[in-house]
């Protein structure tokens, strides 16, 4: 087992445990903090895949901006955690069963698929994840979606302000 595999399994176990803790935590603030740890683990996976730009953007946008927004809203609302009503135990059980059966079904499908047998993911090498090729592709082939996304941001900003002001 080389270093990459050890790092892969360690990051995966860390991400899965943190993701489960997101669900289990009673306090929403603890959930947000666990989710930030999941995002850091996923950024570690991006670095293992040498997608450096996405790793940094993931930390800045998700762990930085979006999670701070979540924390801000939770602290603004001052939700008491004992006030949160729980779903019925039967509903929770059915939810876990259906999610688990989806997981088992998809894993068995992936195991049977012959197109994926023996395909390797190139780790630690390759230049397509760096800023230089990504920027070239973004501003040559994808410049129209890039500009449209700025319009999307403008409309989201206006929408958030209008919804929040009511």
């Amino acid at each position: 087992m080389n270093t990459l595999e050890i790092l892969f399994f360690a990051l995966s176990a860390f991400a899965i445990v943190s993701a489960i803790m997101v669900l289990v935590s009673k306090n929403p603030i603890h959930s947000v903090l666990w989710l930030i740890l999941v995002f850091f683990a996923i950024s570690g996976h991006y670095i293992l895949l040498n997608a450096q730009f996405l790793a940094i953007v993931n930390i800045i946008v998700y762990a930085g901006a979006i999670m701070v927004l979540f924390l801000f809203v939770i602290m603004l609302m001052n939700v008491k955690n004992e006030k949160e009503p729980q779903k019925k135990l039967l509903t929770k059980f059915i939810g876990v069963i259906s999610g688990g059966s989806l997981l088992v079904l998809l894993i068995s499908l992936v195991k049977q698929t012959s197109q994926l047998q023996g395909k390797q993911v190139l780790m630690k090498e390759g230049t397509i994840g760096l800023i230089h090729p990504l920027g070239k592709a973004l501003f040559n082939d994808y410049v129209l979606p890039f500009e449209i996304s700025s319009v999307l941001f403008l409309s989201a900003m206006v929408g958030a302000v209008i919804i929040g002001k009511k």
Binding site: V38, L54, P85, S98, L122
Partner: protein, 111 residues
Amino acid sequence: MPIQYYIFFCLTLFSIGMIGVLTRRNAIIVFMCVELMLNAVNLLLVAFSKMHYGAALQLAPSTTAGIDAQIFVFFIMVVAAAEVSVGLAIIVMMYRNTHSVDINFLNRLKN
């Protein structure tokens, strides 16, 4: 690293997010679980991009195959940021009207 490992890991994260959406009643936690599912899909896109890049690299050394997936992930992050801002504004408005973030208050959208 075989692609199956990445698929299994991302499927696990996706299923955990789905279980969270199905079992929690706090709207903010449900929203966070949706973010978790989005991130699992992002990681899978990057893994597939590196898989195709590794296959194309043996034919041509200066290929940029698979770069589209990473641009897609970038745009997914952009759209997710916009979605979160609007969604949290809706949750704040709902909290102001009902003084609760319980999603069962939203089971009837009329009135």
